[in-house]
């Protein structure tokens, strides 16, 4: 019987695990409590694996530079962008955004960019953190 894996696993025991311990280096008694503390600034998270340059994370919108041309709405595949007629500006629902950054490409004023931020999970898809306007 050839079992090449046995050698492999013995070698692995003495190596460092590949896991990146996130969000804490050691399992806290309650992850929810821990994250609350992080929010309050009482604890720090063990950072996630770093993102490369030009990563497409949460969208950033410079409202004042926008000219309300609507091109972004025309190419958004997910209908995540809404036009606000009063101010001729847009509102982006991050929960519906698919992070294709097509709106960034088409924007004539360059007011839309992608930030490296990707820890966006929340319960409420219309929470303050999920709306960019």
């Amino acid at each position: 019987m050839a079992l090449p894996m046995i050698r492999e696993i013995f070698a692995q025991v003495f190596k460092r695990p590949a896991t990146n311990p996130f969000p804490a280096r050691f399992l806290p008694p309650s992850v929810t409590e821990f994250l609350k503390k992080v929010g309050a600034g009482e604890a720090t998270i063990n950072p996630p694996v770093a993102t490369p340059p030009n990563f497409r994370g949460k969208i950033v919108y410079d409202r004042d530079g926008c000219i309300g041309c609507n091109l972004c709405i025309r190419v958004c595949p997910a209908h995540a962008i809404e036009f606000i007629p009063e101010t001729k500006r847009i509102r982006i629902y991050v929960a519906q955004c698919i992070f294709c950054s097509q709106c960034n490409d088409i924007c004539p004023k360059g007011v839309l960019t992608m930030s490296p931020e990707f820890l966006l999970a929340t319960e409420d898809r219309f929470a303050e953190s999920q709306i960019v306007e």
């Binding site: 595949p77 698919i98 294709c100 097509q102």
Partner: protein, 412 residues
């Protein structure tokens, strides 16, 4: 089976799916069993049909390009590649050669990560979780490079009608090369762990057989067809994109020295060797990449209006990790295509399940099902079937039920 122990010969039905740990995707199987042997197999796909074609026929090509990224969770470039090729034929766009090479590089990285992902899933189906973790760990390297080039790990968003959206600059070459070197070193180890392991061999050899005729007549594609000896590889047969410039040949199980049996083992061989082939292709492409622009038309409004004017029909094909992927598109002077038909690679392969499964042991069902690397779709809400009644439950409903239940338990 409250009537007691079924005797060895009594046929009984084992349902597997739509949701089952053996299936990573929703599909329902019904097996007529005799003891441990599958007598008759039937399956029903479409448990979570999303109507993507329907959605696409109400969007413009630039929007669809990003929707195609999301047809499959693993093939982030396959569908956009095939779709873009179809549109480019209708609009008569000449894609810069530089962009074609970048497309091929990403497509091959995708093949590497997809085959490694499959290898992990296959190992898991065999109850070999260690190999599953190992395969997925090394897959990360390819994912990281893909993220480095395109900006995202899964939905690359790289392809644009008429080219690609991001360049591969000379500064990026060392990182890519490092990853490729890593894979070249690793491949011997993977082949050893998968193909020399006795437990894998006894589980996979002569299991899930698909003969040459069956593979050809059932129109299978990709590694499933090649493992049965059908030398079908769009990259080789049909010169498209930068593949026409490359000197490659389809990988058959004979490349590992064995005969062609068309069993699960052969499918492992083909996929693992294709990883090596992909590494070669990427290296060649990096070396021979011509200079030039990356887009036919960088101004998107212009591109959109060019698409709107176009009329006609075309098919775009690409050899995805799972086999031929084909998009049929018809444009009739509107912004949205008049017809868009997506033929994903698994669509052609699912039929081969029936001849593979019948006569096999129940224990081999997961690995056989996984061996064609099925890729269906993964979004659905919970469907509750009680008797003849069938309704959908949303997250709110489920949450409400959990709250009620917790209260009930705490109460007593």
């Amino acid at each position: 089976m409250s009537e007691g122990t079924p005797t060895k010969k009594a046929p009984y039905v084992v349902p597997i799916g739509p949701i089952h740990p053996a299936l990573k995707e929703p599909v329902q199987f019904l097996f007529d069993m005799e003891g441990e042997v599958v007598k008759k197999a039937d399956f029903a796909p479409g448990q979570a049909h999303r109507g993507i074609e329907w959605m696409g026929m109400r969007r413009n090509p630039i929007q669809i390009i990003h929707m195609t990224d999301r047809i499959c969770g693993i093939c982030g470039v396959t569908h956009s590649f095939a779709f873009a090729r179809a549109i480019e034929q209708i609009v008569d766009i000449e894609v810069p050669a530089h962009a074609e090479y970048i497309r091929v590089i990403i497509a091959e990285f995708e093949r590497i990560q997809s085959h490694l992902l499959w290898a992990g899933v296959a190992a898991h189906e065999l109850g070999f979780d260690t190999l599953f973790y190992l395969a997925w760990r090394v897959r990360e390297e390819a994912m990281d490079v893909i993220e480095y080039i395109t900006g995202n790990r899964v939905n690359y968003g790289l392809i644009q009608v008429g080219g690609v959206r991001r360049d591969i600059t000379p500064e990026q070459h060392p990182t890519i090369q490092k990853c490729l070197d890593g894979y070249r070193d690793l491949l011997g180890k993977m082949l050893n762990l998968f193909l020399k392991d006795t437990t894998i061999a006894i589980r996979c050899k002569d299991c899930g057989l698909l003969s040459f005729e069956e593979a050809r007549n059932l129109c299978t594609v990709g590694p499933t067809a090649r493992a049965s000896g059908v030398p079908k590889d769009v990259r080789v047969d049909y010169p498209y994109s930068a593949y026409g410039d490359l000197d490659i040949s389809p990988i058959l199980p004979t490349a590992y020295g064995g005969d062609i049996n068309g069993d699960v083992y052969d499918r492992i061989v083909v996929r693992l060797l294709e990883v090596a082939q992909s590494v070669e292709i990427i290296e060649t492409c990096l070396k021979e990449m011509p200079e030039g622009p990356i887009l036919w038309e960088p101004k998107l409004p212009k591109l959109l209006s060019a698409c709107k004017k176009a009329q006609g029909e075309a098919v775009g094909r690409h050899e995805a990790p799972r086999g031929e992927c084909l998009h049929y598109v018809a444009m009739d002077g509107h912004e949205a295509p008049a017809m868009w038909k997506v033929k994903a690679s698994s669509y052609s392969n699912l039929h081969s399940w029936i001849p593979m499964l019948e006569g096999e042991q129940l224990a081999d069902v997961p690995i056989i099902v996984a061996s064609i690397d099925p890729c269906l779709s993964c979004t659905d809400r919970v469907a509750v079937i009680r008797g003849a009644k069938r309704d959908l439950m949303t997250k709110e409903d489920l949450h409400q039920l959990s709250v009620e239940k917790t209260r009930r338990i705490q109460g007593c």
